[in-house]
Structures are given as structure tokens and as C-alpha cells.
């Protein structure tokens, strides 16, 4: 008899330990609040793009984002890969248009909060980023001279209302650009410098309009945010805001022992920086050194912050001026993705290496040696229950 009672007491104590969800420590409370969408400040102005917050530019940018004629074959819009009904990504391990890219298409919610763009950060502004796929032979595959003429014929009025008169385009080759086919490059080289510069100006403006649109794409509130709001106001979470004991355990691991929130920090759950976490190379793709490749590319980009198509003063270029140029940790380092709604967009990582969140967590537990460089991930000891709890928590961030 007494032993049964003893057992009951023990069980009660254990249950208490398990459901301590309502009794977060001060540090835990602060960590939870720091991840909540409520702490996301409005997106900072972008002085390098004077049209960044111009609603006409944003509307024009939205048109361009969905415009398939903005491509060599008239079939490729940004929205083909960044699908509006799919968190602006495509569910594929590698983006596909004219050809297959070597990396996973990135979602766009909250993209304007970044300092660096692409998995390797090879662009330093949203507007400079938008120019890259337009001339990438695997994506839109066009040339800037071709795009300028397309705008003149299809969107002259809208363009000019925002950016002022288009330059004189008479006699321009149908296609010409520094990244085109050899004849298109030759045609570009043959153009006088002021003319090339005028075309570059139009091209940059297309990027600035698209960026103005992308700045309006924001993450949505999730169950976790409703839970966090309740916790920080000290009231009991109601309805779907009440996380299950497993989800709470997962949250505790995320901000505690599993140390996920060191890199996945802040309301977007990313530090916006680059880390080698030992993710294996994408099968069938050429070697990918990540940030180590991205640094020289962004430094060489004529549309970077220190280039002549920036608006405003160069003091907005801190990230580029103080860029880490060579450090061993850049090798195979990729940009930390936001985890908001990540559960709803497998496959995961820069090459879609993992098909499920369970595989992701298993990867962090094993923390394998990377193919190249040094991994920052350290092996993690999690019980079976903790493993599923971490996955359960990730799902509270939206699917």
C-alpha cells in the first residue's frame, strides 16, 4: 500500500518537472520574447535605393516580379521559382528555369532585413540581388540591353513616371551585356562607355523597383508568437497559443541545451550571417565553398554599395567596407536561414540535403565533419523524446 502511494508522489513530482512550461526562468522569458515577431522592428530605410519605400516603385516591382517576358525566352519570371503561394520558394532541392541552379531557392518573407543576399552573400543589397538572376544563364538568361528595350516597349510610361526619362535606345543591339553569350559580350564591349552606363542605370532601376516590392513581403504571426505574447504578459496562453508539453520542451532545448538560438536568433530566427554547420555537399553539384566564394563576388559586383549606381552617401556601406575578406571560417559557410514557416518548406539546407526536420535535428545531433573547412556545430546528446520535441517546436513557427 504505502509503496503505491510513494509511487504516486514520485509520478506527481516527475510530472511537475515535465510540465514546468508555465514557470520559465527570467532568462528563458527574455529569450522567448527575443524570438517573438512582436519584437521585429520595421524594416530599416535603404538609403542606397531612393525608391525603396516609394509605393509606385513597389507596384511596378511587383509587376516585374511576375513578368515572364523579363527573360530571354519569355517564360521565366522571378515568381516561377519564388512562388507566391509557396512562401516565395519552389519546394525543389535546386531552383529550375532555363537550367538547374546549384542551390535551393530561398523564401522571401522578411528578406529586406538582410545585409547579405544569396546563400553565400554574393550581393549586398536587395536591388543589386535582383539583377543577378536576370542575367544568370540558368535563370532569366537575358541581357541588360535587351531588358532596357523591353521596358521601353512594354512599360515606358510606368518606368518614366517613377525614374524619369529612359535614355535614347536607338541603334542598340537587341541583346548585349557583360554576362551574355560571346557575341553579346562583344556587342556590349563595342558600346561607348556613356551608353553602357545609361543602360546600367536602367538595369539598376529595375532592381530598385523589384526591391521596393520585396520590402513589403513580411513574415506572418504564428502560434509561437501568440504563445510568446502570453508568456511575456504573464498570462496563460489560450486556444492554439497554448503549446503542448512537447512543444515547450522543444522550445526550451532550442534556447537552451541545443543552442539553436545562438545562430537562429532574433524575431526572424537568423543572425543573417554565414556558418559552416557540416551540411554535406549537394549530390551531383560542383564543389561549393559558400561564403568563401561569395566574398570576392560581392567585392567585384559593379552594383555593390560602393558602385556608382548607389543612391545616397557611402556611409551606408558599412557591411561592405568592413567585410570579413579571408578567414578560415568562411569555407563552406552558408547564410543562416530564417526558421519561420520552415517546417512547411522541405527540403532543407542550401542544396535541399535533408527531406525532413527529423533529418535536420539528427544532423545537428551527429555534427559530422564537414567536407571542407571547420563545422561550428558540436555533437548534441538528445533523447528520443527531446528529438521529437525539437521538431514539434519548429512546427509552432508555422508550416
Amino acid at each position: 500500500m504505502p509503496w503505491r502511494r510513494l509511487l504516486c508522489v514520485v509520478l506527481a513530482a516527475v510530472a511537475l518537472a515535465g510540465c514546468g512550461g508555465d514557470s520559465f526562468s527570467g532568462a528563458e522569458r527574455a529569450a522567448i520574447a527575443s524570438l517573438s515577431l512582436a519584437t521585429l522592428r520595421p524594416v530599416q530605410p535603404d538609403p542606397t535605393n531612393r525608391f525603396a519605400d516609394d509605393p509606385r516603385a513597389a507596384a511596378f516591382g511587383a509587376t516585374l516580379f511576375f513578368e515572364a517576358r523579363l527573360s530571354r525566352d519569355g517564360q521565366v519570371a522571378c515568381a516561377n521559382c519564388h512562388r507566391i503561394d509557396r512562401q516565395f520558394q519552389d519546394d525543389l532541392p535546386f531552383g529550375v528555369a532555363v537550367g538547374e541552379t546549384r542551390r535551393r531557392t530561398m523564401p522571401l518573407a522578411g528578406v529586406a532585413y538582410n545585409a547579405w543576399f544569396f546563400w553565400d552573400g554574393r550581393r549586398d543589397s536587395l536591388w543589386a540581388q535582383a539583377l543577378a538572376p536576370l542575367e544568370d544563364p540558368l535563370e532569366h538568361a537575358g541581357t541588360r540591353a535587351g531588358y532596357a528595350q523591353f521596358i521601353a516597349s512594354a512599360y515606358r510610361e510606368r518606368y518614366e513616371r517613377i525614374f524619369g526619362p529612359l535614355p535614347d535606345l536607338t541603334g542598340l543591339p537587341a541583346q548585349a551585356g557583360p554576362l551574355g553569350t560571346p557575341p553579346e559580350r562583344a556587342a556590349w564591349e563595342a558600346m561607348p562607355e556613356p551608353r553602357r552606363d545609361a543602360i546600367d542605370g536602367v538595369f539598376a532601376n529595375l532592381g530598385k523597383a523589384i526591391a521596393a516590392f520585396e520590402r513589403t513581403i513580411n513574415p506572418a504571426e504564428t502560434r509561437f508568437d501568440r504563445f510568446a505574447a502570453a508568456v511575456s504578459e504573464g498570462r496563460a496562453p489560450q486556444g492554439d497559443a497554448a503549446l503542448s508539453p512537447d512543444e515547450i520542451l522543444g522550445l526550451r532545448l532550442f534556447i537552451g541545451k541545443a543552442r539553436c538560438s545562438t545562430c537562429h536568433n532574433g524575431p526572424l530566427m537568423t543572425d543573417g550571417f554565414f556558418h559552416n554547420t557540416g551540411v554535406p555537399p549537394a549530390p551531383g553539384k560542383p564543389a561549393d565553398l559558400g561564403r568563401e566564394e561569395g566574398v570576392p563576388l560581392v567585392l567585384a559586383d559593379p552594383f555593390n554599395c560602393l558602385g556608382r549606381h548607389r543612391d545616397g552617401a557611402a556611409d551606408a556601406c558599412g557591411e561592405l567596407r568592413f567585410i570579413v575578406k579571408d578567414a578560415p571560417e568562411l569555407k563552406r559557410a552558408f547564410k543562416t536561414p530564417s526558421l519561420r514557416e520552415a517546417a512547411g518548406r522541405p527540403p532543407f539546407m542550401h542544396g535541399g540535403q535533408f527531406k525532413t526536420l527529423d533529418e535536420v535535428v539528427l544532423h545537428y545531433m551527429r555534427a559530422p565533419q564537414p567536407a571542407e573547412g571547420h563545422s561550428e556545430a558540436k555533437p548534441l546528446l538528445l533523447s528520443e523524446r527531446e528529438r521529437t520535441a525539437l521538431v514539434a517546436f519548429l512546427k509552432t513557427l508555422g508550416e
Binding site: 516527475v14 514546468g20 532568462a27 537552451g256 568592413f322
Partner: protein, 146 residues
């Protein structure tokens, strides 16, 4: 009666154990090692006295900031014309700064500006200043907690 007592003691012991376990898992595991957070200190070999402070609000995760640096000899004489380089990062995470800060001389004697300082995550950061003035070279290590 004896059984009753045994039970009570057993229960008390168990509850205590669970409580200790809980406390340990909640609090001890989260604790980071104590760190010296002084913003002014002698350099490692005592050649300089080095002081840093943010030129603006206390550091936070995200923005790129400038820090002020003051260099003196132990007797208080300002040290001008020194060459200073910045290293460091997060020792517990084995990574460096997300930027490469640079130091330049400011107008006043012994004053410098550390530009391009950025912290990308909360936690304990190290800023290591390597200072050369004339034939003297020394280092100063600052801990900064965010």
C-alpha cells in the same frame, strides 16, 4: 507507524532530489563562465592602459557601430601614433566577428576610433586589440556580453 515514517522520509528525499535536479537543469546548465567585463584595463604585459567604450548606445545585436579607444602609458601619458589591429569573436562558438573592424587615430592625443564593430548574436564576445607603439607591442583582451 514505522512504515509511515519511512514513507514520509522517502517521499521527502525524493522530492528534494527532483527539486535539485530541476534546479540544476534549469539554472546551472544555462550559466556561462564569469567573465571580466571591464572596459578599461592594463594591456597583457602592462605596457599600456587601454580603455574602450561604444560611441553611442550600449552594443546590441545587429547594427555596425564605432567604438572609442583611449591609450595611455601606466603613468597616464597618452599614446599617439600607435598601430592597432582588432581580432576576436565568440570563443565559445569558435567564430570571429561578422565584420573586420578597423582602427584609425582620432583628433585628441591617445584617442582612436574602432570602426565597423558588429555583433551578430547574443552571448559572450571577445575583442582583442594588438597595439604597437614605437618598439612596444602588447595586447589587450576585452569581454563584451550581449
Amino acid at each position: 507507524m514505522r512504515n509511515q515514517w519511512r514513507l514520509t522520509i522517502g517521499v521527502a528525499l525524493l522530492v528534494a532530489l527532483v527539486a535539485i535536479g530541476l534546479f540544476a537543469s534549469r539554472h546551472l546548465s544555462e550559466r556561462e563562465p564569469e567573465a571580466d567585463l571591464a572596459r578599461s584595463k592594463p594591456s597583457a604585459k602592462g605596457i599600456f592602459v587601454v580603455s574602450i567604450k561604444p560611441d553611442g548606445p550600449e552594443p546590441s545585436v545587429g547594427p555596425i557601430a564605432t567604438w572609442d579607444l583611449a591609450l595611455t602609458r601606466p603613468d597616464g601619458t597618452p599614446v599617439s601614433g600607435a598601430a592597432v589591429t582588432v581580432g576576436g569573436g565568440m570563443p565559445q562558438h569558435n567564430h570571429g566577428f561578422p565584420t573586420e573592424p578597423r582602427v584609425s587615430a582620432a583628433a585628441d592625443p591617445g584617442r582612436y576610433r574602432i570602426e565597423g564593430v558588429k555583433f551578430s548574436m547574443p552571448g559572450l564576445w571577445e575583442m582583442r586589440l594588438t597595439i604597437s607603439a614605437g618598439t612596444d607591442t602588447d595586447e589587450a583582451l576585452f569581454n563584451i556580453r550581449l
